[in-house]
Amino acid sequence: MLQQTPLNAAHRAAGARMVDFGGWEMPVSYGSQIEEHHAVRRDAGMFDVSHMLAVDLSGDEARAFLRYALANNVDKLAVRGKALYSCLLRPDGGILDDLIAYFLREDAFRIVVNAATADKDVAWLNALIAERASELALKPRRDLAMIAVQGPNARDKVWKALPESRAASEPLKPFTAAESGDYFIARTGYTGEDGFEITLPAARAAESWAALAAAGVRPCGLGARDTLRLEAGMNLYGQDMTEAENPLESGLAWTVDLSSPRDFVGKAALSAAPMTRQQVGLLLQGRGGVLRSHQQVLTATGGGEITSGTFSPTLAQSIALARVPVGVAPGDTVAVEVRDKKLDARVVKPPFVRHGKALVS
């Protein structure tokens, strides 16, 4: 039995094609996923991301606990409302999940984790709390829904649809959040565009979704979400990174600080591990197919594999994220095995697209 979000009926009424995504019944598209993609790059689109889980951590030792539990340094969060992207690591450096942590108060942080890994993450954090900071409380918030509104016109359309949210959300800088009544509004996203991710009571999800649609925000499914995040060079957990890979070989070295004296789960393993693989972007040359996950990549320094590949609607060309041996560099040409052919692809540094503009060609 698949789990359903509070917006399930709204998706069905809009004619969405529904699929199983990590045990959740989610809309993959409402029609053309390429048109949904363009709506986000050029105007405003919205995604039901209620399958993701907000977890509230409270207690005096919340910050000290996260300083140890997260690979990124929670001390970068100096101002209330600031958000931090981080991996949650195993002691051997393998990635349990990627998440965003929000600094609410000195004794209260909100963590948003992926759907398929939510139960695992909560169990992991609870075990770590029992070991190190047993007075902390960890509260999964399945009573909340989440709607991501993304695109150059996203913020204006949110203010049109939900005018009461404007005062709290208008001053927000990128990667910060604020509470507005029982809404929690973050200027974050997974598309490479401006916009908000709005966390709100499940009971108010349908009316807010309808108000956003009435303000001209186009409902978009997981199909467009995937092409948008891949153009933006953002990893998908379970595909571009798993427990078998560490952040350094997943394009996430910028989220791990190994230089500070701070200890954290996985630090010793990451410091000791020789770096043999790296993540790169690939841009297919010419036509001949579409790059897809699990296709083999042949390089001058050895074999690699595509972790996510798709057709980029913005570039009108196929793009991919791949894990390849160190030594491969932007500008190199590699070969990708697509069915019975070897197709040339150029190595590039992600992202491919940001704020509607192509960054590679």
Binding site: S32, Q33, I34, V290, T310
Partner: protein, 127 residues
């Protein structure tokens, strides 16, 4: 779902139209394009290639997935529609106008064994 009565079909979602000269025009059905979603790449067989019934002869790829297109009967490829390789989205717009390739069948009798519209509608759960 659109299943024109004047065409023949396969259970692998190709449509077949017999032209006055006996050549078969072949495409993918409206149901197939809908299931695949936005098409972004199409590879067609070389003209002159001899194919067996059920052989994979073409590839259609959407943003989501790649799918083979099969020869409905044995024969020789007589034409490939480069219009759809240039603009695959045309198949999404009208799957029955934008054909993929033409086949000179080895035996005209084979065509009679293909599904009619009513039988294909059952295959896709529309009847």
């Amino acid at each position: 779902m659109n299943v024109p009565a004047n065409l023949k079909y396969t259970d692998s979602h190709e449509w077949i139209r017999t032209e006055p000269d006996g050549t078969l025009t072949i495409g993918i059905t409206d149901h197939a394009q809908e299931a695949l979603g936005d098409l972004v790449f199409i590879e067609l067989p070389a003209v002159g290639r001899t194919v067996k019934a059920g052989e994979a002869v073409a590839i259609v790829e959407s943003v989501k997935a790649a799918s083979d297109v099969y020869a409905p009967v044995a024969g020789e490829v007589a034409a490939a529609n480069t219009e759809v390789t240039e603009a695959p989205e045309k198949v999404n717009a009208d799957a029955y106008t934008h054909w993929l390739y033409k086949l000179k069948p080895a035996s005209a009798a084979d065509v009679g064994k293909l599904l009619d519209a009513a039988a294909y509608a059952k295959v896709i759960g529309e009847a």
